[in-house]
Amino acid sequence: MLLDEPYRFAEAIANRRDYIEDQLRDGSPVVGVAFADGLLMVTLKGGSQKLFEAYDRIGLGSVGHPTDIEKLRQSAVDLAHVIGFNYSDADVTLQQIVHFGLGPAVKSAFDDVIRSPYIARVLLAELGQDDGGSSFFTVDYDGTFHRYESAAAIGGVAEADGLMREHILAADPSSHALSDALSVALDAWGLGRWAGEQDSLPPDEEELKAAASEADASAVVREALRTLEVEAVVLDPAGSGKTKFRHVEPEEIESIVSSIRE
């Protein structure tokens, strides 16, 4: 068997990585931004919904195969609701969902070389229960997860994540209104998409940054808007009721999008 032969196992895993990364490359990035009125998640979608409500204060977006995304989304929703019922709404945290739910599930599927892996990278956002405490988590296709504050993003290639995040942090949207935060997030999306479109990216971080600084992110977004549409959700602490998740209205999006199109 494969597991008895370390070399073949390592080779199988490496093949898996190549295969999954190749599948993910063209994916539409998902960007998460903390702004003045909560947390914003933004992506561009072809037709079907890409940003989802996992629980009262938790949003989920993903790059990858739609059915794999569905499986992960459903297991996040299942776990959140079982915890919420058995304990309380306050006990449902992103840390639990990622550490005990999504992370292990994705990792075991990835390691089991005779099963199909999840072809998906996931970004989750959690609105804190008090002032502050908001966070983002990313879960990669191999089960690796990271926690971020202020901003996080996932693209079709791993290099895109850092480029998008740095772009957002440089704009410091923490006190931005929704429209400005949306604009920063869309620019970051353009950068992430640009990274996915390149045949190869410089392995050196500084060279990568230099190459990215030459990229025209707005032009990438403008081109993408010919076939895709913007989807944005907000986790709004001022929202009435327990559920803080809402889709941003098309009119709110349109004013930003029309300025990019011009």
Partner: protein
């Protein structure tokens, strides 16, 4: 994990279960129990111009004892639905919690709102699952479910029997120990007062609900009455196309002054 998208099935697959076994030695009306089971008392719902008013007194009793005078028996389930409970609060709150999570879970997992028909069916099944408790006279839950039908643009009121049979009423419903004292009053005032309930304004509908609860308390010792000295107003909620809304305590005091003093 459950793949059917049903929250109660998911809970059961995680090991959750209702107290389904009949307790040996306990007879039909709770005789043989070493304690008096707690019960919530009077609740009512009536349609008015904009939707439905749902109200309940605040008392919970155990036998002849007043156990608690601040019970909330009108429980929000989702944006457009509330469940008012009489009978065993333990099982009723459990059922309300399952229902609330079921509706939210369905909306998030299936990416669509559960239909009113399905919501009613979920509640019906939960009440039926609770039958062993109800048969022993210790855990019966007899709720009123009120919701706003956004497709039909109308408020709807349903009540259930202990077996889970669901009945839609046109204008009003009341259950619980004080219901006997006011059911006839509701029929009478709806039919012959000159203004049928569905034509009442919000204030008149809330005022009428306060009067009805006061009347129930007059003839049923298990129903709590609003007293100035203790100042614990009943729970009153409205459900309209905009969703459900709590009537605040200050407004209830004002309406009490206007309609009852």
């Amino acid at each position: 994990m459950s793949d059917g998208g049903d929250f109660f099935d998911l809970l059961k697959s995680e090991g959750y279960q209702f107290p389904a076994n009949v307790i040996a030695g306990v007879e039909g009306d709770g005789k043989g129990l070493p304690f008096h089971p707690t019960e919530g008392t009077t609740i009512l719902a009536l349609r008015y111009q904009d939707g439905v008013v749902v109200a309940g007194d605040r008392r919970a009793t155990a036998g002849n004892a007043v156990l608690y005078d601040r019970a909330d028996k009108v429980i929000p389930i989702d944006r457009h639905s509330v469940m008012a409970i009489s009978g065993s609060p333990a099982m009723a709150f459990e059922i309300a919690r399952i229902l609330e999570h079921s509706f939210q879970y369905h909306r998030r997992r299936q990416l669509q709102e559960m239909s009113i028909e399905a919501k009613l069916r979920r509640l019906s099944l939960l009440i039926r699952d609770n039958l062993p408790m109800a048969v022993q006279g210790i855990g019966a839950v007899i709720p009123i479910f009120a919701t706003y039908d956004t497709r039909g643009d109308v408020g709807r009121i349903y009540f259930y029997d202990a077996l889970g049979a669901q009945f839609e009423v046109t204008d009003f419903a009341t259950t619980g120990s004080g219901a006997a004292a006011i059911r006839g009053v509701m029929y009478y005032t709806n039919r012959w007062s000159g203004t049928p309930y569905p034509e009442l304004s919000r204030d008149d509908a809330v005022g009428l609900s306060l009067r009805l609860l006061f009347t129930a308390a007059e003839y049923d010792s298990a129903t709590g009455r609003y007293e100035r000295s203790t100042d614990i107003p009943p729970t009153v909620k409205t459900i309209t196309s905009e969703g459900q809304d709590d009537i605040g305590e200050d407004e209830l005091r004002d309406l009490h002054t206007r309609f009852l003093d």
